[in-house]
């Protein structure tokens, strides 16, 4: 019974992360919330009894996707714009 409760909590967590990810004002927050979204997905795969997916989602979805997002943000100067805004 406790597994069902855990699954419900994780599903609600998924929906909260999915709603809040794009609504964050700053792009860096969006990517970080998206990282937590794929982390919850990895845990959900374990609860759905498919460990292959959990390893792949954790190794690929959470890690590599987020690195690529952070590098893109660095390239489009979205990371540093907070300091630049404060200067102006």
């Amino acid at each position: 019974m406790s597994v069902v409760i855990l699954e419900n909590i994780l599903l609600v967590g998924l929906i909260v992360c999915a709603i809040s990810a794009p609504l964050c004002r700053h792009l860096l927050l969006t990517v970080i919330v998206y990282m937590s979204f794929s982390l919850i997905m990895a845990v959900l795969w374990i609860l759905l009894e498919s460990p292959d997916l959990a390893i792949t989602e954790a190794a690929v979805g959470a890690a590599v996707t987020s690195i690529l997002f952070f590098l893109t943000l660095k390239k489009i100067h979205a990371l540093t714009c907070t300091e630049r805004n404060q200067h102006e």
Partner: protein
């Protein structure tokens, strides 16, 4: 209402798909569109993999001599989703590369500024 609670994974997948679709269509920032697209991807994978789950059964690692199908969950959906996850990473990497080139060419990734600059350049 009871059907909603029973198929809770499918309902969550539909809600996530809706959120992702709304973001992809309505967000102005290209990066947020890509995040919306990834959320849609995960929603589809969640729906697919949850259809393969059978209660009270174990992960499909066939133990020695116990090759009886009623002990394990359905391996086919998790096989499909495994390759899907890796492909969705490649797609988001490719779209992020496009975003970088757009920024390098037009200096912005906000859609309305971008459309104006493209129109301006077309005149």
């Amino acid at each position: 209402m009871r059907a909603l609670l029973e198929n809770r994974f499918a309902v969550t997948a539909v809600i996530l798909f809706g959120i992702g679709l709304a973001n992809m269509l309505l967000q102005k920032n290209l990066i947020k569109k890509i995040v919306g697209f990834n959320i849609m991807d995960s929603a589809v994978f969640l729906l697919l993999a949850s259809r393969g789950f059978v209660e009270g059964r174990v992960a499909p690692i066939v133990a020695e001599g116990m090759a009886d199908a009623s002990l394990y969950i359905n391996p086919i959906p998790s096989g499909l989703v495994l390759t899907g996850i890796v492909v969705s990473v490649s797609i988001s990497a490719f779209s992020l590369a496009l975003v970088q080139r757009i920024y390098h060419a037009y200096g912005t990734i906000e859609l309305d500024e971008l459309v104006m600059r493209v129109k301006k350049e077309a005149d």
